[in-house]
């Protein structure tokens, strides 16, 4: 008897997974990275707004970080499953161009985006937000923050800094590019070698590094200029601050684009337009913790402690694509000497 009940429970348990798929007449498929569509990210807010506007259904798939999403799009190239990929960053841009993935579209709203963010002159991808990497510090443990990259080499920071690994994480890679932009290909390795004694750990990703920082393990972490705004907005504290560097900060821009082979080109274009509209852009600061590319309204009050760097040293995207693996190779060898 008990076995019968048990087995019918088990059957019920597994077959609830099968739900009849009601074929939606208008459905747009969007691929994005996981944290964009997490409960805390912008996804739940902006996707719902778009569904209300377009009277269509969105199917959102978020299989991992942007590297995974791009891999997936490339794998599916012959038989595309998605209409839009949202969340490609500048260091992945050239790679995606080399696979010829995009259906160009020039949104009329793009005119509102400042010229330096419109990186792709062929309109294959459209920027939707941007941010700067920065060293965030705990002001309770450090009175005078470092003022430039050179300050970080000071022996007083011995084993007090945590950064992310350029080989495995996007802020880490940006840090590497930052130092190359500032010190050139001749000087960056030298800088890193001097920085090494001050690094307590070089983590696999942002999560571990920032976790170590907020748990008090280190007073300085590589994060974003907007990180302090989170703490002000949700924790009502200005204890964590971003150190503003004289060299300027390396910029990450995030893009979205329509994928070749889409059967819903009109709807996809509507989404790109929507992405630049206020309904999307206004949600970005407090959910994705990045700056919107079009400022439809003033930034939230908590952004007063997210400094907008005056200058942003940059590397040419084509050069990044060409040299990246060489740089990473040289970096890992220099650092393990």
């Amino acid at each position: 008897m008990q076995i019968k009940i048990l087995s019918s429970f088990i059957l019920l348990f597994f077959f609830t997974g099968i739900v009849v798929n009601s074929a939606a007449a208008k459905e747009l498929t969007i691929y994005t990275y996981d944290s964009f569509n997490s409960e805390w990210g912008p996804g739940p807010v902006v996707f719902k707004r778009f569904e209300e506007q377009c009277a269509c259904k969105l199917k959102v798939v978020s299989p991992g970080d942007s590297g995974i999403v791009l891999n997936r799009v490339i794998l599916e190239k012959a038989n595309p499953q998605a209409d839009i990929m949202l969340g490609l960053n500048n260091s992945e841009l050239e790679k995606s161009f080399s696979y010829d993935l995009w259906e160009p579209y020039r949104s009329p709203l793009l005119a509102k985006v400042s010229a330096d963010l419109r990186v792709d002159k062929k309109y294959r991808v459209t920027p939707f937000d941007y941010g700067f990497i920065a060293f965030v510090y705990d002001s309770q443990k450090m009175e005078k923050p470092p003022k430039n990259l050179q300050d970080l080499l000071d022996p007083k920071y011995k084993r007090k800094i945590v950064i992310e690994n350029p080989k495995t994480s996007s802020p880490g890679l940006s840090m590497l590019h930052w130092t190359i932009a500032v010190y050139g290909e001749q000087g960056y390795l030298d800088y890193w070698k001097k920085l090494q004694p001050n690094l307590l750990s070089v983590t696999d990703g942002w999560s571990a590094a920032y976790g170590m920082f907020t748990k008090g393990e280190v007073p300085i972490v590589l994060s974003y200029v907007t990180s302090p705004a989170y703490h002000l907005e949700y924790e009502k504290t200005e204890r964590y601050q971003a150190a503003v560097f004289q060299e300027g900060h390396y910029r990450q821009i995030e893009f979205a684009g329509i994928l070749k082979g889409t059967k819903r080109i009109k709807l996809a274009r509507e989404f790109i337009d929507f992405m630049l509209s206020e309904k999307f852009q206004n949600a970005i600061p407090l959910t994705n913790w990045m700056f919107p590319v079009v400022q439809h309204q003033a930034l939230p009050d908590s952004y007063r402690i997210a400094p907008q760097p005056k200058s942003a040293p940059e590397l040419n995207a084509a050069r990044v694509n060409q040299q990246n693996s060489k740089w990473l190779k040289a970096w890992s060898r220099a650092m393990s000497e």
Binding site: Q2, E76, L199, G211, T287
Partner: protein, 555 residues
């Protein structure tokens, strides 16, 4: 050949393994993929190039070295545990055992943060010691170096060694030892000459499993190793696949890494022909032995305390973290995150993830058990090359980097299954493939400790195979099955990498929820989800244990 239910099980297990692992992976690697249409992935040139660089050779050497060291240490820590659990009973024993398995369930990001919270420069231990001695500098500094890597790996893996070895130990007949004692062999001599050799098969089994796991370890190596000096093959695979988007390189390296693990296994795995008899050891009641001032008992207590510090410490750091919130620059203690978890709100992903995790975990553990049963019957009692072949064949899914497995599977899924099979079953099958090798490792030593003679005798007595299975195998293996099932379930709960690639929102699981919360700065929320994850697996363990109790009627 006569119809045999086992044959059916063996065939379906092999089909699952072949169609679910070897076919997708091999066809992907041999070139049927859009990332590299013009040539196959595995190019001799790549390997020559890679292996001619001394730096890469150092990476390979370090990967092997740390895995070897971690496995040896895990076994050294696990051995006293195995001895303790087979020779003593003590209050809270069951809970102690369960506790040691728990780290396994947690996603690696939380294990890493838990270690930092507890052992870090500003962690509990150091703050406690600093307050005690009034010093300014943290006295315990083993994190962020090789010892950090090793300690985290031992923390993770010693329970495997304890479980697998302990199971075998329980079957060692006291008669041998008594005979040896009467011949005047001392304690040490008895241990090294009799007990240890009898335990060797299980030690080998545990060693192989832990070795492979540590070869594929990733977050622990980078964060707790300090990040730069210690690089492993897995880190390079990750770099190629995720950052440089050079998939052919990643796949080739994954193949190399898997091959190295296999080579290690082929050398280590040996056929076993030792006979052990069932003879239940009479266990001593630990508190009583303590009162008698038994030196061994005191050693046991020291070991228990050490393990409690190492396991309970980081785990309770997570539990505590889930009850606190940072506000106005201060930490306050609150139920806020739990209220948030269970509050009804529009975007509550937590509850659906909980449901998915539970379904996928149980489903994959059931598949894994059947698949494992089929495969284990192919390995058991075999010797020589035949045995090695089956063992290596069943272990390979574990040795291949999950990053590459995920992509290969995704390609396979897109081409063959998408639209016909609901995604959730695909995920269950994938998890089952990854957890099945554990199942086999856990069950195999115990199964083989059953004298083969019994089978022959029962045949001679005209008993049907099913009757033999129910009357003899089941009672003997029941406890082991439970643990194996629980391992599979727990591993599935924590699994993330391989399924990420094919996942969509219908199969969101709790680890994904944890990562999502952390990337949205909600670290304490993530801890709260982790506590639920732990709670879930403990209650599943107890439920399965209870329901297995009902099957006693077969005895």
């Amino acid at each position: 050949m006569k119809y045999h239910p086992l044959r059916l099980l063996q065939i379906s297990a092999l089909l699952l393994l072949g169609a679910g692992f070897y076919w997708p992976v091999l066809s992907f690697l041999s070139g049927s993929n859009p990332l590299h249409p013009e040539e196959s992935f595995l190019q001799g040139e790549f390997f020559l190039d890679f292996l001619s660089d001394p730096w890469n050779l150092r990476v390979i050497a370090f990967s092997l070295f740390q895995a070897l060291l971690s496995a040896v240490l895990s076994i050294l820590v696990g051995l006293p545990g195995a001895w303790l659990l087979t020779h003593y009973n003590f209050p809270g024993q069951r809970w102690f055992r369960l506790l040691t398995y728990l780290p396994f369930i947690l996603p690696s990001i939380l294990v890493v943060l838990a270690m930092v919270l507890f052992f870090g420069n500003n962690g509990w231990i150091n703050r406690g010691l600093m307050a005690l001695f009034g010093t300014e500098e943290p006295p315990v500094l083993f994190l962020y170096s090789l010892s950090g890597i090793l300690i985290a790996h031992v923390f993770y893996n010693f329970p495997i060694a304890m479980k697998i070895i302990g199971d075998q130990w329980e079957r060692i007949s006291e008669q041998y030892l008594q005979a040896a004692r009467s011949l005047g062999a001392g304690n040490m001599k008895r241990y090294f000459r009799i007990t240890l050799p009898l335990l060797l098969p299980s030690i080998g089994s545990a060693f192989v499993l832990i070795f492979i796991l540590c070869m594929n370890s990733f977050a622990i190596i980078l964060v707790l190793g300090g990040g730069i000096r210690y690089t492993t093959i897995e880190v390079l695979i990750y770099q190629l696949a995720r950052i440089e988007l050079d998939f052919s390189g990643a796949a080739s390296l994954a193949f190399l890494q898997g091959g190295l693990s296999l080579l290690g296994m082929a050398i280590l795995l040996k056929g076993r022909n030792r006979r052990v008899e069932q003879k239940s050891v009479i266990k001593n009641w630990l508190p009583e032995k303590l009162r008698n001032h038994s030196l061994k008992a005191w050693f046991a207590v020291c070991w228990i305390i050490l393990i409690l510090i190492f396991t309970l410490g980081p785990l309770s750091a997570i539990v505590l973290d889930s009850f606190r919130k940072f506000e106005n620059g201060e930490w306050i203690y609150t139920l806020y995150w739990y209220e948030k978890l269970f509050s009804w709100r529009e975007n509550n992903h937590f509850l659906s993830s909980l449901w998915n995790s539970l379904r996928i975990g149980l489903g994959s553990a059931v598949i894994s058990s059947f698949c494992g049963l089929g495969l284990v019957s192919l390995i058991a009692y075999k010797k020589g090359w035949q045995r090695r072949f089956w063992e290596v064949l069943t272990l390979f899914p574990l040795a291949l980097s999950t990053v590459v497995f995920g992509v290969a599977w995704f390609h396979f899924y897109q081409g063959n299954l998408a639209g016909t099979v609901p995604l959730i079953y695909v995920v269950m099958a994938m998890h089952a493939l990854l957890t099945c090798p554990y199942w086999i490792r856990v069950v195999l030593p115990t199964l083989e400790s059953i004298p083969q003679q019994w089978h022959i005798e029962s045949k001679m007595l005209g008993k049907k195979p099913l009757e033999y299975a129910l009357r003899i195998l089941w009672p003997w293996l029941r406890k082991t099955f439970l643990i194996a099932f629980f391992f599979s379930f727990s591993l599935s709960l924590g699994e993330l990498n391989s399924t990420m690639m094919i996942a969509d929102d219908s199969v969101r699981t709790l680890p994904l929820e944890i990562y999502g919360a952390i990337s949205g700065y909600r670290f304490s929320y993530a801890s709260a989800v982790a506590v639920i994850l732990l709670f879930l697996s403990v209650s599943t363990f107890l439920a399965v244990e209870r329901s297995l109790g009902h099957f006693e009627i077969f005895k």
